[in-house]
């Protein structure tokens, strides 16, 4: 997910970002990952639809190895939903919009 519409986060600012009062959905991706690209447009749509309710962010796993390691991520795209800094649920693979909406709604 290489879009500029989604804010990128890194290992350094990860913890403070996900501890915000608004729930966060973090898209762990890499530039060489086809399915990450495939779900890109859907993630952009969701970021627009849930503006103010859920913050959608992306983290490049190539540049930021520490956070994916901490969460045991072994496949991308992996999307993890956080509320007040804690993991609510996660999903792996190029899933459909409905599955992502169902995931996001778990934090609302």
């Amino acid at each position: 997910m290489a879009s500029d519409k989604i804010k990128a986060i890194n290992d350094a600012d990860f913890k403070t970002t996900i501890s915000a009062s608004v729930p966060c959905l973090v898209d762990f991706w890499a530039p060489w990952c086809g399915p990450c690209k495939a779900i890109g447009p859907v993630i952009e749509d969701l970021a627009e639809e849930y503006k103010g309710k859920v913050t959608i962010l992306k983290m490049n796993v190539d540049d930021n190895p520490a956070t994916p390691g901490q969460f045991g991520i072994r496949a991308i795209p992996t999307l993890i939903l956080f509320k007040s800094g804690a993991v609510v649920d996660q999903i792996t693979g190029a899933v459909g919009k409905k599955q992502l909406v169902d995931l996001i709604n778990k934090a609302l």
Partner: protein, 309 residues
Amino acid sequence: MPKTHYDLIILGSGPAGLTAGLYAARARLDHLLIEKGAAGGQVLLTDWVDNYPGFPDGLSGFELAEKMEAHARRFGLNTLIANVVSMDLTQTPKRLTTEDGEELSCDALIICTGARPQLLGIPGEVEFTGKGVSYCATCDAPFYRDMHVAVVGGGNTAVQEAAHLTKFASRVTLIHRRDTLRATKIVQEKAFANDKIDFIWNSQITAIEGEKGVERIRLRDTAGKESILAVDGVFILIGVVPNSEMLPLQLLQSENGFIPTDNETRTVIPGVMAAGDIRDKEVRQIVTGAGEGATAVLAAEHYLNTLPS
């Protein structure tokens, strides 16, 4: 009011859909290509494409998908990102409904919904997906640097991706339920010559186990002997299942989820074509999908010309 009717709708944006889109746009047909996400389909899961004509040095699946999309866009391809969940092909015009409840209609329809990786259906598989179980070596190989991974399967995808995995993993064990591989000779030769790949023949994987992630797999050979293999990851590359959930399979006379057609990609329903991996056929290659996409547009054009204007 936004436009909801098109002469031709193409459903899916893999090689078949993109080629159909290219032909439809270039022929100036009133068309819409509906895609679920970014274009490319299963090509996006392919590390390296070595057999697509016109690219003598080979290219990555990612790159080929981008080139195909750019090519179709040059002619003015119209696209919509939506997930079609149902359709009514008995009416005139034919109707499609998206997940958001949007209704679209068309006179001719080309179904290019493709296929997706098949699951093994064994304990631990779903539980450890993304935590050691993967269906895309291209995507996830870099997570297995200096580790030991298993690859399940014996076809082109499994053997080719096993070789790709050796760029990262220290050891790759290919597990196949037969004693010979189904993959193309040149792909087999490369795998046999790779000293990081070892083979377990005549064996099936029966369970995937671990604590937080994959730690070991259970195997059973054709004689019934059971064993355990310690691995850090399992790549399941055993074939595909059709993306047919939104299709009226009975109406299309499908017995297995794939759509039967004639040589011109026409299904039993007038004005409905099927191209690419969703078609009921033996050969599933990028180049055959592309060829069928082109054939389907010519069939669609022919059909549209028979309709009263």
